[in-house]
């Protein structure tokens, strides 16, 4: 195994920079954002250097490790804080630092009027550091530190404008939903430690074939719970829509391109566990399918452009989770979709941010319309992202989504058919809601209700968007060509070299079906939204739309099933504490106070009563002595 001393700098640089910006205070206002961007860019440079170093080595020598320090050393149990950079993590490192740097550059302009821009960049760097630790940790315990770190950064950034109570609440909601998942991860680590006595990926992988299937299933399900929380999958998806309260660059980086895909990383990284636990794999598939349809349905009804994109993120991650559930063949395609999604969704979020920038922070698409004319550059880049996400060949989303659909069909039997149809249906819905977003924003009648024309954003915002659009156009083909990513990841996710059982459906047929599904979705959307669009949301709508507008009642469900009973439990516990426990304490105090009060009466200050007491005392003494002596 090759070692390298560069890895720790990947994490240390942004972490130090974040601390510096936070500690330096106002003094860093003038240059903080530049340093943060530079640090992010240098992390990207380290990543590129490592990639080329990796390409220069043989397949078996490609993973790089670095032991930073011994973290825990108790008897036989030893955990090192060490980092592992292999073919899987390098994909993430480049995505995080690459997209991260572009978003840093974008934020310089986007946040230029915010008085807290320095704090914003400090949090962004904190996020980069935590996310890199998440993907570079060589054990579940190291991963967990990064996992919690990104949760913290996400909380801080969603609630960045915490002077608005709704935003602060959204941050708390995201944090709590994530905590539910985090409990799953910590339980998984505990079970893994109890079963294997080890928490490193390598150690567990080596013992994976001897473990009992029930332990594997338990670990798998707990890891899935963690992934469900972090990646906003059913039934913990409700936080993602509200997380859009954060500044748009945050939505692009954390809640579209990187952090929410950590669940996919976790499952892919734990492939040796899931491959040994078919039950857990089946649950993964079910969660993936439910979420991909769930998110798509919500996306069809949202009028808030960021929430529509968030619902779409949910749905796309559903595709990835589904692919990870399909076993060794699926992992590579899940990562491929993750990478292409990182490009096109970040590009579209930044495009949405650019539209908001030109539209006085309006997010309601019903108040947009006809913006394409005024913001041609944003329109073109958003359009490229749009073509990529709905899966039009040869844009990137086509290759990655097509592969997932194909793998779903080839899962075999009734399951394969059901999954294939579900993914195709999801593709139709995706095409529908994304077309709706594009039409409502860039085409049609102008509905913004004020005289000021929207203006194109500054170059500092447009350059990152255009670079991301290039990624969303080309990345799919580059990763797909000659099975590049598939072979690249094979030593990690599919060491046995497993193939499809049989090619049940020809790839070309799948592609044709997928394109047909997209065309159907697009044409329905065009037909429906071709005419005038009202600037107010219609009130008389069918039940499904009503439900979708309310996130399919997931919030109401959580509130009535978890929150209210939880609150009443807390209230009764509080009562118990106040009345019973505090009551006991107060009783003890009351007794001594009462005793004092009654004894106090003897000290009345009257000489005669003291004299009387003395007489009584002497008499009592005499009687006692007399009784004892007789």
């Amino acid at each position: 195994m090759t070692t390298s001393s560069n890895l720790v700098w990947l994490i240390a640089l942004p972490l130090i920079c974040s601390a510096l910006l936070l500690l330096a205070g106002k003094r860093a206002n003038a240059w903080g954002h530049l340093v943060a961007t530079l640090v992010s860019a240098s992390a990207f440079a380290i990543g590129v250097v490592e990639l080329f170093a990796m390409l220069g080595r043989d397949v078996q020598d490609r993973p790089v490790t670095q032991k930073v320090f011994t973290w825990i050393s108790v008897g036989d149990f030893k955990v090192d804080a060490s980092l592992l950079l292999d073919q899987l993590s390098i994909c993430f490192v480049l995505l995080i630092t690459g997209v991260g740097t572009l978003i840093h550059i974008y934020s310089i302009a986007y946040m230029s009027h915010d008085r807290d821009r320095r704090r914003f960049f400090a949090y962004l760097n904190l996020f980069i550091a935590a996310m890199l630790l998440l993907v570079l940790g060589d054990s579940y315990l190291n991963l967990y530190v990064g996992w919690e770190g990104v949760g913290l950064a996400s909380y801080l950034l969603i609630g960045f404008w915490n002077e608005k109570p709704a935003y602060a609440t959204a941050a708390k909601k995201a944090f709590i939903a994530n905590r539910v998942g985090d409990v799953g991860l910590s339980l998984a680590i505990m079970i893994a430690f109890a079963t294997f006595g080890d928490v490193t990926f390598k150690g567990i992988q080596a013992q994976a074939d001897q473990a009992s299937s029930s332990a594997m299933t338990a670990i798998g399900l707990m890891l899935l719970l963690a992934a469900v929380g972090k990646s906003a999958q059913f039934p913990l998806q409700a936080w993602l829509g509200d997380a859009m309260a954060g500044p748009t660059p945050v939505s692009a980086l954390i809640h579209a391109a990187t952090m929410v895909t950590a669940g996919v990383y976790l499952i892919t990284r734990s492939n040796f566990i899931f491959d040994a636990a078919p039950t857990a794999q089946l649950v993964v598939i079910i969660i993936g399918v439910i979420t991909l349809l769930f998110g798509a349905v919500i996306g069809m009804a949202k009028d808030d452009i960021k929430k529509a994109l968030a619902a779409s993120t949910m749905s796309q991650i559903g595709y990835m989770i589904l692919a990870t559930g399909l076993g060794p063949i699926g992992y590579a395609f899940a990562i491929m979709h993750l990478l292409t999604h990182g490009f096109f969704k970040a590009s579209m979020f930044l495009g949405a941010g650019s539209v908001m920038h030109g539209m006085k922070d309006e997010v309601n698409m019903r108040k947009y319309g006809g913006i394409g004319k005024y913001m041609p550059f944003t329109f073109i880049t958003f359009g490229l992202g749009y073509l990529a996400i709905i899966g039009v060949p040869p844009f990137s989303g086509f290759y990655s989504k097509d592969k997932i659909i194909e793998t779903a069909f080839n899962a075999g039997g009734l399951k394969g058919v059901l999954l294939g149809v579900a993914t195709l249906f999801g593709a139709t819905l995706t095409a529908f809601y994304m077309t709706r977003v594009v039409i409502m924003t860039f085409f049609g009648n102008e509905r913004w209700g004020h005289k000021d024309e929207p203006h194109e954003s500054p170059a500092l915002m447009l350059i990152p968007i255009s670079l991301l659009s290039i990624g969303s156009v080309a990345s799919g083909f580059l990763l797909y060509r000659n099975h590049a990513l598939e072979y690249w990841l094979k030593p990690i996710v599919n060491p046995a070299g497993e193939q499809h059982l049989e090619e049940l459906v020809q790839p070309i047929v799948v592609s044709a079906l997928a394109v047909t599904a997209v065309i159907i979705g697009v044409s329905i959307a065009i037909k429906k939204y071709r005419g005038e669009i009202s600037s107010e949301a219609p009130v008389k709508v069918n039940l499904l739309t009503k439900a979708a507008r309310r996130d399919l009642y997931q919030d109401d469900f959580n509130e009535s099933v978890f929150m209210r009973p939880g609150q009443s439990v807390v209230k009764s516990l509080l009562n118990f504490d106040y009345k019973v426990l505090d009551g006991l304490v107060r009783l003890v105090g009351g007794i001594s106070i009462g005793a004092g009060q009654s004894l106090r009466k003897f000290q009345n200050g009257y000489v005669r009563s003291y004299a009387l007491m003395m007489v009584v005392g002497v008499l009592a003494l005499l009687i006692t002595v007399w009784l004892m002596s007789s």
């Binding site: 000290q603 009345n604 200050g605 009257y606 000489v607 005669r608 004299a611 009387l612 007489v615």
Partner: protein, 99 residues
């Protein structure tokens, strides 16, 4: 006449003195009652000296008289001072330490 009668007298005098200390308010009267109790004790000492046939009790009685004389000097001085400042010789009025 039995010698025990002296002891009875002593007990009666002592009781009268004690009751007087407890029930009277006037400091002078209380003082006189205390003197009565001291003298009741003296009577008892002398009686015991007679019963035992030695002089120990009589010696102690002299000591008691000395102590009583000192007590009168100090006590009367206090009472007179209090009377001067508070215009009252009632023991119940001198209850300032309580507060």
């Amino acid at each position: 006449m039995s010698i025990a009668n002296y002891l009875y007298l002593s007990a009666i005098l002592f009781t009268i003195g004690a009751v007087g200390v407890v029930v009277r308010r006037n400091a002078i009267v209380v003082f006189m009652c205390i003197e009565l109790m001291l003298n009741a004790a003296n009577l008892a000492f002398v009686t015991f000296a007679r019963i035992n046939g030695n002089l120990d009790g009589q010696v102690v009685a002299f000591f008691t008289m000395v102590v009583a004389a000192c007590e009168v000097v100090v006590g009367l001085a206090i009472i007179v001072t209090i009377y001067r400042s508070r215009r009252s010789a009632s023991v119940d009025d001198a209850s300032l330490l309580k507060r």
